[in-house]
């Protein structure tokens, strides 16, 4: 009877709810099941970021969090400064965000696939000192 009323008032069928919940819980179960995949992911992530900025590898961290209907990946990557060597070639415009540099920020990618990781625009000439947040160590 309750289910009939639920449907009457536009609530989604329970089988659909079940399917969504299952997909999410299995992803979560799987992430625990494959630590090597998580390690590879972390390794690749740090490697890519370290091509652009110098990172404090010893203090990097990546965690996965269940948030309502999504699994979110949270990466905490302390940045020590700009890389001395030339930056790699610029990527196509669609993935650029604005160029302000704020070190030690949380990068997060949510399950819907919209990355919010920000990075500096590539600068081929002598690089200005980055605007470091208060309290962060200045590179020497």
């Amino acid at each position: 009877m309750i289910e009939f009323l639920n449907r009457l008032f536009g609530r989604e069928p329970s089988s659909r709810t079940a399917k969504e919940r299952l997909k999410l819980v299995l992803l979560s179960d799987h992430l625990s099941l494959a630590p090597d995949v998580i390690e590879a992911l972390k390794h690749d992530l740090f490697e890519v970021i370290s091509r652009y900025v110098e990172i404090d590898a010893a203090n990097c961290d990546v965690t996965f969090e269940q948030r309502e209907k999504q699994v979110a990946m949270m990466a905490n990557i302390p940045i020590l400064g700009m890389q001395k060597r030339p930056a790699p070639p610029p990527v196509p415009p669609a993935s650029h965000t604005n160029g302000s540099s704020k070190p030690a920020r949380k990068a997060s990618a949510n399950g819907s696939g919209t990355p919010r990781r920000r990075r500096r625009k590539a600068q081929p000439q002598s690089m200005p000192q980055p605007q470091l947040a208060q309290g962060s160590p200045q590179p020497t």
Partner: protein, 279 residues
């Protein structure tokens, strides 16, 4: 490990010593007869009556208490994290927003039952009894290490049994293993009165002629349990659900608020089926 004490878990203030909570293991031997559903719903019903309740999932590696309760997205840590000192008990306990006095302590999903030290688990149950009125332990299927761990620390047991030969046989085995020191009671689950009448299903008496246990409750088979698990909303929260009412009645019996003998569900009339049978 210093545990923060949460206000509503300490019902008695001042000098009066707290009465120790009850630790009840929900077991069966046979899988799939409704242990997890029963643990979830009894826990919910007891908490709704005002008792402080913690549900402990002892099914390491195949946890489901979280998903039956609809709390799977909020599980961050589990029993082994607590036993191994990775987190405190309070960090591991999951709160149920719908039922303020209910907490869940989840099982580890990617570990094994052998990883749990029985004595440590028993101590944990003891700690929980000091903080909660009721500690309900969801036992895994079988009679191996998982079962041995789950019953450690519980001085009461609820045996869940369906009226089917294989389930009764396994329940009988489990009753033997529970020994004489524990209070053991029976819940007969998923009864289909129409089939019993036709002689195609064992009756409650048939089951208890073999098991000889005090009867705590009888629950009819009903499709709304499937729907409730789909949604992660225990039927005990649904005032219109008959199965929910059965669980609520069992909870009242457990707390002593109701001492009447359990009702045996009756066969549905045609009209009963139309308006009350399915939700």
């Amino acid at each position: 490990m210093i545990n923060q004490v949460v206000q509503d878990e300490v019902p008695v203030a001042g000098d009066v010593p707290r009465v120790r909570g009850r630790a009840i293991v929900v077991t069966s031997g046979k899988g799939g007869v409704g242990k997890t559903t029963t643990t979830a719903n009894l826990g919910t019903a007891l908490a709704a009556l005002g008792a402080s309740v913690v549900l402990v999932d002892a099914d390491v590696g195949l946890r489901n208490l979280d998903i039956v309760l609809g709390l799977e997205a909020r599980v961050r840590h589990h029993v082994l994290d607590v036993l191994e000192g990775v987190v405190t008990l309070d960090e591991a306990l999951v709160t149920d927003k719908r039922v303020p006095k209910l907490r869940l302590l989840a099982a580890a999903q990617t570990r094994e039952k052998d990883d749990v030290d029985t004595a440590a688990f028993r101590d944990l149950i003891g700690t929980l009894r000091d903080r909660f009125d009721y500690v309900l332990i969801d036992c895994p299927a079988g009679i191996e290490k998982g079962f041995v761990n789950a019953i450690a620390g519980a001085d009461e047991a609820i045996v869940v049994c369906t009226p089917e030969v294989a389930a009764v046989r396994d329940a009988d085995r489990v009753v033997g293993l529970l020994g004489d020191d524990r209070k053991v009671e029976l819940i007969v689950n998923r009864l289909r009165p129409a089939l019993v009448r036709k002689g195609k299903m064992l009756s409650v008496d048939d089951v208890n002629d073999i098991l000889h246990l005090p009867l705590l409750g009888v629950i009819a088979d009903a499709p709304d349990v499937i729907v409730s698990t789909n949604r992660g909303q225990p039927v005990a929260l649904d005032p219109a659900s008959e199965v929910g009412e059965s669980y609520r009645a069992i909870a009242r019996r457990i707390t002593g608020q109701d001492s009447a003998a359990p009702e045996i569900p009756r066969e549905k009339t045609f009209l009963g089926k139309l308006f009350g049978g399915r939700s």
